[in-house]
Symmetry: none
């Protein structure tokens, strides 16, 4: 790598960004990988800018905003690039643009690691742990199915297991019924999307009944050894969320996540007044105005912002540092939507963060993993990266293109739209 | 409707208020309907200014204050009329005047809807739900009677049911006894109205004992499917209210209402510190100084201000919006006193408010409903309005006059005056 | 007076209320005096229930609500009557009903004093001061006129003088101008009441400029000896009120009153952060939710609630007591609207309250005073009552009737409706 | 419009969304207009989704997300469409998506107004003022130039004038100098973009010196009649912002805007502790977590969120209502970037909001205005819309296409990137 030190001066890496590209993959096209190429032969980096619902918008932003902003800059100026890109369109703290910037940021850390010949976690201060514990996703439509799924993970050596029951995880859906029967509006009042009779209506009280029962059954079956979590997906009215947190207390969860929507995080104060159920939140956050008060008041116990939605490794490391001051641990969001690059970005942060808590497992097919040589490996509840320089993962562009199904990618994708019995929307 | 657009200029709907009248109806004369007439043939609106205890005062205020203030103004200036009438007598946030202004405000929205050819809820942003769930009023002097009444509603498809036991609902009344016996002052000390021997004395501790027992019996009989509420009617000392809220927690009420009087809402902080029983309050509020701190601190979960006591649709919509920011849901007060016009004003707000929670059922006789063509219909726990322009309800003035009984209307009406065993007043 | 003590029992006065009447007087009919008659020969009391803008509504409430509620009760049960009347119509803290209750409450204290053969202030604990200082109302359309008016009061021995300049006191009105000239909307946009060109538009910035200048001129002329106050009449936007308080600081006012409207008293926190200008407020308050937080946080220095709007002597004494705990002084509102009975009710409280601060002067004609034998006398800045039992004032009903002009009384009365240059309402 | 009332049933307007299109115009392609077409002949609406820096991203989001989400829905369900679109991609409170949703929301209100035959402001409650005052943008590279520009506006009848000096308005830029001279890093340390020698370096202290001097000169020349504002563009370190607010106090600005960046609004507490300079902020806000605490604590005096960045008329009205409870006034952001549709959306809110304060002027060429028949007209400091149904503005698609310059539109656009003398970025 060609660098030069001016005598007595400031040294700069000589790698200059020459090209910024979006590579769209996964069969449904929801994975967007940013690839930054440089004027140094063979030196490039990749980062994750995936958005399950708006991949095309992300790609447009990479091409229209990110590429012209970055081309010509030194790859070394990671912090300055982050700051100046963030505010380059005036508005910031944006879900779409935050993801785009994250793609670039991860790619620049990847490049830096390659320049240094070191894995990224070493640039972040080195490892605090041998490997990264991850939590599994167990689910079932009945308690029996759920117990079987949990058992499967336990048999495989997992300790941390998220437990979900039925549709969207909480068992809070009433059986579909004829309109006008049993607490449903009559047929003449129903027009899509207000008709809840086909899919079942969400009911806060049913959820509040079912989830503690579910954990009662799980604890009866498995005892208190396994570390269970639960994800509420922001489905409850705030006061119901407080009640659920309290009702879950006897079952000693590792944490409950997203019990409140981001608009109503002030209710964590009520939760902390009445119970000790550990709280995890953050996967919807994109703005420090959302999480700074929560951390500062120590109202959540695990910070779950997605590394790419935070804006990449640069801001995620700062958030982890902030959390350390307040006794909050990290639990970067992963799950079904994320890609192997984002997973590894989180992995490097996990290794180097003293106050790391847990990470979420991902679900990749073999075909998907084949696109990402060097991807992380998860075994018996632990995730392992590799020691290659940078993030340690590459993208096979041919495989990526082969995996991509343009027809599927062109389909619009929206969050499931749950509704209460009267037809009103349940805000996720 | 006569309108014209001046080229490049400002111009307004030409409907001008020509007359403002109070129409008093219901057999006991407690319903007061404001009718606003305009200079446009056939264009008028109606609104509710009913006050069960002070109908004559309301009528005087309509004649002395409202009519001269409004006649001559454009019907279109709804917000300005509201603001300028509110402060026209210097003092504001007044139960009597708030109701009077509400009558005008509803009538102006009714007129606007007619001018637009659209039901009011569409002017408010359109519907968020198929129909409006309402909660029933079940009661009994014994648990058996109460269970039978609840069963009746469940059989009819209702889900939300308020459960009250005995006099004024809470079962907190001691048996009438001879003065001087069992914790009562001796006869020589008793003078009306301090004599509690005829009606029974209210006892906070008895109430605190009875209500959780009642819900224990109801939950044992019905399980956790039905959504129960309870109304305390502000009968408890504040610390007893905190204790009751906690004692009710295992019975998972949909909400408890008016557990505190408006003078002592600061005790909601204590309630929220110790339990998760959902709190509904507001039917006594008339002043933002009463509810703004409660909403802002998220101390109540359901805002129950009566639309007419809030001052009409204009302020009620603002309150609903305020609540949305804080995760509070609306549960506009209805019940026995209100009239079909106020019921529909609430209905239109319910349809259009994303953060609507529930509405209270009303009790009208067929004869009363006949006065109000277009009135809402409640079936199996849901209320339905119609799609006619405006509020969708009219008043048949002949029927209104026939229903009205001047002799009954002339009787004074006061809240029941409950007293403790020592004769002291229980503030409702 | 016929009383009897049952051996070992509780003693009650034998006076029973037989009649409650409203007497309306002043030429414009805005004074409403409640007269309570008893079954004891010659024993009656009077109280003030005046409301400048809604006298007819008050009269209706006395006849419909107050009279049937009180007739038959012992005059001795002052506290119980107050509490049970307050909540007799469910909603309370009402401007109209509060005034009505106050009329009864003052009359009952008047009766009690007569029964005791003592002036009311002695029943309240006796006098803490020899006489009651009051503040004068000086005004002028120019500084010169104002200086002359102030000089007149100083020459007459007054020390406390409220100083107001021009329309509504603050000099914040722009000169009337042609529409479309100098920051006014063009003619085609104007329709009453949005047309401000006839009366002049209110301008916060002009007010903020004029009032400190006015006090600069007054202090230059009179020095710091006279104690000046100023009344803002709630005309400013909250942030302008904060700025005015600060700008007035160098002029060392005795207090500034109503710098904020009741809806925005939270801004007193800002005022107290930036300056020491003493703050008086309360004449618009009717509800403890409005004033309790202000007193508790020590955000106002003088509590100015009108005794009749507070609900009479019973609650006003409690408010004075509350204020004593927090170092707040009383300055009961009087001024142009009030009647000699309310003035004396305040006087008795003033004498007996250790933490009394100042009272506002009234303006009565000789003809008006002739209606109220025993009225207070104000000389050289001090008010003096008399030592007759009760309030010390009576009403000459014949004179009251003669003063009353039915035609004038029938005219509607509204607060002046000031508007800004764009036509929008200035909330008083 | 085809409607029908089912007897006793619910029924809706029959207008269904058939097509959602993005129309890109202005020569530089930065204006994006959403057009919603319906199944009713001739019934459509338009809304603003312009983003000066990311127009192409917005267009991608309209095509990929908005159109498939909306087609097939009733135009009447404005609130439900807003709520369900907001959360349709899980992450929300997004600058890009908020703008896109706003475009749809305005178009639906436009359609509703057309269905009603009424201008939108009447659906919002009618007008509270005759016309909408706007503030002008005066600027100069020297005080003399600035005074001349201000005089020009005053001569034209304007009252509210924003005053800016030099580059980016504040005069805080040091003269360009040779690197290594006068507090600049030496040449060997400079690399673009760290080189500040070409454009001049931003210096907080210079800004802090210059702006109060500027207003001193303006006040000396013009006195306190004109209402001046100033825009800091978030250029200062937080503590310097506090110092500037205090230094500006003697000059009595109408408000200072964006004195703090959105990341550091907590410093408004410091500002309010030390001075009374009115504060305006909001044009960068997209998330209630940013503005709810500010409003609730009354830390800003004017809320300047852009209607389209708030998400349209539906949320902007709620924000205005929220502000009314807290004594905060609205000053929707306009300025150079916005289009005539967004300007009119703000105008309708202005007319109907009692707590409206001021609006910012826009700058359109005749050619740009020709694209928007019915556009607002600004004269002598007041803006006037028209009385046509809906927003009152249309888009001439042919003119829009002719105005659009594809070559210019393809150029990337970024905020000016100011830096301090050491080369570090000044966050806007």
């Amino acid at each position: 790598m060609d660098t030069a030190i001016a005598p007595g001066g400031i040294l700069h890496g000589m790698a200059t960004i020459t090209r910024v590209r979006a590579i769209r993959t996964r069969a449904d096209g929801t994975w967007v990988i940013v690839k930054i190429e440089t004027n140094q032969p063979g030196l490039y980096g990749i980062g994750s800018a995936s958005d399950h619902y708006r991949a095309g918008v992300v790609v447009a932003a990479i091409n229209e905003v990110l590429a012209p902003k970055l081309v010509g800059r030194d790859t070394a100026d990671i912090e300055d690039i982050w700051q100046s890109t963030l505010t380059s369109g005036y508005w910031r703290q944006d879900s779409v643009m935050g993801t785009v910037i994250a793609g670039a940021d991860m790619a620049l850390w990847d490049i830096l690691g390659k320049e240094a010949g070191l894995p990224v976690y070493r640039l972040l201060g080195g490892r605090c742990r041998a490997a990264v514990p991850v939590y599994a996703h167990a689910a079932g439509n009945t308690i029996e199915e759920l117990i079987a799924d949990v058992q499967h993970y336990i048999d495989d050596g997992w300790v941390y297991i998220r437990c979900q029951l039925g549709a969207y995880g909480g068992g809070g859906f009433l059986e579909p019924a004829s309109p006008g029967e049993g607490g449903r509006p009559r047929a003449s009042a129903l027009r899509a999307p207000f008709d809840t009779t086909k899919r079942g209506a969400f009911d806060d009280e049913a959820y509040l009944q079912n989830v503690p029962e579910m954990f009662g059954a799980l604890r009866q079956h498995f005892g208190y050894g396994p570390k269970f979590t639960h994800d509420v997906h922001e489905h409850l009215r705030p006061h119901q969320a407080v009640a659920l947190a309290q009702a879950l207390e006897p079952h000693r969860l590792f944490f409950v996540e997203d019990i409140l929507p981001p608009e109503h995080v002030a209710y964590y104060r009520h939760i902390k007044q009445v119970c000790t159920t550990p709280q995890a939140m953050g996967e919807l956050f994109i703005n420090s105005a959302e999480y700074l008060p929560l951390i500062q008041e120590r109202l959540i116990d695990y910070m779950r912002i997605r590394v790419s939605k935070a804006g990449g490794i640069t801001p995620a490391r700062k958030i982890a540092n902030l959390c350390e001051f307040y006794g909050v641990h990290t639990a970067w969001q992963e799950g079904g939507d994320n890609d192997p690059v984002n997973q590894l970005a989180a992995y490097h942060l996990d290794l180097a963060s003293w106050n790391f808590g847990i990470q979420e497992e991902n679900h990749f097919t073999d075909g998907e993993l084949a696109v990402f040589p060097g991807h992380a490996v998860t075994e018996r509840g632990y995730m392992y990266g590799n020691e290659a320089p940078g993030l340690g993962v590459d993208i096979d562009e041919t495989a990526a293109a082969n995996l991509f199904d343009a027809t599927r990618a062109a389909q619009p994708r929206f969050m499931a739209e749950d509704r209460r019995a009267d037809g009103s929307l349940v805000r996720p």
